[in-house]
């Protein structure tokens, strides 16, 4: 018994890494597709998306880098898809330099990912999304909160050109959009500083009363709940699980088969499984560590006496 506890106590970290790696690979290859129930947060967020009316101008801010993409991209997919369904006018922008590129990838896809536009147009045969009319990518702006303050004076002054360098006043999407207050809602996806917490909430929401909701990574979620309780933040997607739930909550009818489906893809469901398995392994390791600690505390002392 002592040998086992001694081995477990001094387990090499490379063994831990190996176990995690094997668990991830096995789960990806043989997923369990554990059931996902739609939580209160995901349901509330869907309600906010459904409150957007046809023609409403809304901002979707991509304030994250590629490192946050696995958690935040599913949120962006769900938000953009539902906004297109609602026929909103979607303005994408970013306070992070990688944001505009990640926004383009979410829309148009990359590699095996077909992108949200293709998926939307396939599920809605009568509709063709048009750049500059249904959506626009305004690109990245440096200056953080000052951008928000200046946007309230004139959006076109700050974003004179879109991400491809074309003057934005040429696009029909700009009709009736002059200042920040003209936007009905902001959906801010944030991977850290320079985003929802320190730009959109204190300036867009507090100073200019533009409704703000958003999404964040699981690790940063605890600092956002206080703003939910004070109702400064209308809705929050607090990590990958809620994002997957929102995708599950967005249903569509396949025009080819007439069958009902949801946006939750098998790839995303698989990642949810991986997250579950890794959490369980971490818990098991903590339990092992504590078992060895208590064993040593009890018998180690007895042996010393």
């Amino acid at each position: 018994m002592e040998i086992i506890f001694k081995f477990l106590k001094n387990i090499d970290r490379r063994i831990i890494f190996l176990i995690i790696a094997i668990a991830v690979i096995v789960t990806l290859k043989a997923p369990m597709y554990l059931p996902l129930s739609v939580s209160k947060n995901a349901n509330g967020f869907l309600g906010l998306l459904d409150a957007v009316q046809e023609g409403d101008p809304v901002i979707v801010s991509f304030d994250y880098a590629a490192s946050g993409e696995p958690e935040l991209k599913p949120m962006a997919q769900a938000i953009l898809y539902r906004l297109f369904e609602r026929k909103a006018r979607v303005f994408m922008m970013a306070f992070w330099d990688q944001g505009p590129g990640l926004a383009d990838n979410t829309l148009n896809g990359k590699g095996q990912d077909e992108g949200i536009i293709k998926k939307f147009e396939r599920n809605n045969p009568g509709r063709k999304l048009e750049y500059g009319k249904d959506y626009i990518n305004l690109g990245y702006k440096v200056g953080a909160s000052n951008v928000i303050i200046a946007m309230n004076k004139s959006v076109m002054d700050i974003f004179s050109k879109d991400n491809t360098g074309k003057p934005i006043e040429e696009f029909p999407i700009m009709k009736g959009v002059e200042k920040l207050k003209d936007f009905k809602r902001v959906f801010a996806l944030t991977g850290g500083n320079n985003g929802l917490l320190d730009i959109w909430l204190p300036f867009a929401r507090q100073q200019y009363q533009v409704p703000v909701c958003g999404g964040c990574t699981s690790v940063s979620a605890p600092q956002f709940y206080q703003y939910m309780q004070s109702k400064q933040l209308d809705g929050l997607l607090d990590g990958f699980k809620t994002a997957a739930e929102l995708l599950k909550a967005i249903e569509y009818t396949d025009p080819a088969t007439g069958k009902k489906g949801d946006l939750l893809s098998k790839d995303i469901h698989r990642i949810a499984d991986v997250q579950s398995v890794v959490h369980i392994i971490i818990i098991i390791f903590i339990l092992i560590a504590n078992a060895t600690y208590f064993y040593e505390k009890k018998y180690g002392r007895a042996n010393n006496q």
């Binding site: 554990l34 590629a66 696995p70 505009p100 000052n146 303050i149 309780q229 890794v278 818990i283 600690y293």
Partner: protein, 208 residues
């Protein structure tokens, strides 16, 4: 002395007071209009600060290579990466061509890999450090288990209660602590800002 210390302090005081009152000024008032114009100046300054940062990055790394620093290979990699990406971005545009290729197939996978390594390090660190040594650490441990299980699908498959307890912990217990920390930090930041505006704190000028 005047140019190095007094003038920057005067500018800092004027800008600080103006920004403070401008923030609270009612919309449409002259002060508020000036404040919104002021934000545009700050954006221009921020853009130049970014250029300054790039310039400094190039200078520091070039000097390291020239001085045969042990890390010169990394400096060369950094310079090559920065110059190639920026060069193709300027020549071909940032949303297409080689710049986008670098972004999609080099930067994005690298960043995702770095972030994914967290899972391995968290597992190892939790194994080494998470011990129920006292009452407080036992409470922390139990809370961590509940939250970890409540935030993944397997937790709700084991027992649906994990999700609701986890939600309560995050939105009530965690929120109370988080709000206290936020308020404390905000008061501290306000005090620090006031010290700078009033010229009590002058370290930003490079002095003692």
């Amino acid at each position: 002395m005047f140019l190095r210390k007094t003038l920057p302090m005067m500018l800092c005081f004027c800008c600080g007071v103006f920004a403070m009152f401008g923030f609270f000024a009612a919309e449409g008032t002259k002060l508020n209009i000036y404040y919104e114009n002021f934000a545009k100046w700050l954006m221009i300054i921020a853009t130049f600060a970014m250029l300054l940062g790039i310039g400094n990055l190039l200078r520091v790394n070039t000097l390291k290579i020239l001085k045969n620093h042990p890390d010169k290979i990394y400096c060369a990699m950094l310079l090559a990466g920065a110059l190639i990406t920026a060069g193709f971005g300027i020549l071909q545009g940032i949303d297409k061509g080689v710049c986008m290729y670098i972004f999609n197939y080099i930067l994005t996978p690298l960043q995702k890999t770095m972030f994914s390594l967290l899972a391995f390090f968290v597992a190892s660190a939790a194994f080494r450090a998470f011990r129920a040594k006292s009452f407080e650490s036992t409470v922390l441990l139990i809370t961590a288990f509940i939250v970890m299980l409540g935030r993944v699908p397997i937790g709700t498959s084991i027992w649906p209660g994990f999700a609701s307890i986890s939600e309560w912990i995050l939105s009530t217990v965690n929120m109370a602590g988080s709000r206290a920390i936020t308020l404390g930090a905000a008061v501290g930041a306000t005090a620090a800002a006031l010290k700078i505006i009033l010229g009590i704190e002058t370290k930003y000028l490079g002095g003692e």
